[in-house]
């Protein structure tokens, strides 16, 4: 490969790049009118799925916390109360 644009201070070979840029800048047809509608429908589905996942995760967290509390209360070691020996009978 030749070193392009030796005299210039541009990092990329200017002329070639401009040519390719022009090539890419070709006229393009307008977008179909229902494109936004379709994207929105899909975006709504995405949002719904995301919210569902969030709700499920929060529910799971809540259930886990409740179960943890119940188990802790149930199995908490009770302080053993030793009755004093009865005397004076």
């Amino acid at each position: 490969m030749t070193t392009p644009g030796r005299g210039s201070f541009r990092r990329t070979p200017g002329r070639k790049v401009d040519e390719v840029r022009r090539m890419l800048d070709a006229p393009h047809p307008p977008a179909p009118p229902d494109l936004a509608e379709r994207a929105m429908e899909r975006g709504k589905r995405l949002l719904r799925r995301r919210r569902l996942l969030h709700a499920a995760l929060w529910t799971l967290l809540g259930v886990a916390a409740a179960a943890g509390t119940v188990l802790a209360v149930h199995y908490w070691p009770q302080p053993t109360v030793i009755a004093p020996p009865m005397r004076g009978w």
Partner: protein, 147 residues
């Protein structure tokens, strides 16, 4: 209420930007129908994240989503499907479009694609050389012979 605002703002944005975005998607995918599919995927994500943009340009975000969606499915696009950049492999196509059409800065494009800057530059130069050596490219009279 919030959803209405989202829809209104999104519609206004799409009305202005869809043409250019569709062109980008078609350049990447090769075939217009496939480009449209790619763009709908990217726009749907922009719609879902609309209130999380926090001042970021929705066009830039959609363009990033487009590039990400294309990268994810690069294997799908490995075979030529027609279009202007038919001769380039998917990654070079993406680099060329980001750098030359979207005008993304070198460092930013490299970060976006997870490539070292030198590698990105090499890919871009190679893509430019390939495009110029392609016979029958549109509107370039002086392209013959030069590499």
């Amino acid at each position: 209420m919030r959803e209405r605002r989202r829809a209104c703002e999104f519609e206004a944005f799409t009305a202005g930007a869809a043409g250019r975005l569709l062109h980008v998607a078609t350049l990447l995918a090769g075939d217009p129908a496939e480009g449209e599919r790619l763009l709908v995927t990217a726009l749907a994500r922009t719609y879902a994240d609309w209130f999380r943009l926090r001042g970021e340009d929705p066009y830039a975000r959609t363009s990033q989503e487009l590039a990400a969606a294309f990268s994810r499915r690069a294997w799908h696009y490995r075979r030529p499907r027609g279009g202007l950049l038919d001769r380039l492999p998917p990654r070079e196509r993406l680099v060329l479009v980001l750098r030359m059409y979207e005008g993304v800065a070198e460092e930013q494009a490299a970060a976006q694609l997870g490539l070292p800057t030198e590698r990105l530059r090499a890919l871009c130069m190679h893509a430019v050389a390939t495009m110029r050596s392609t016979p029958g490219s549109t509107g370039s009279g002086s392209a013959g012979g030069a590499r």
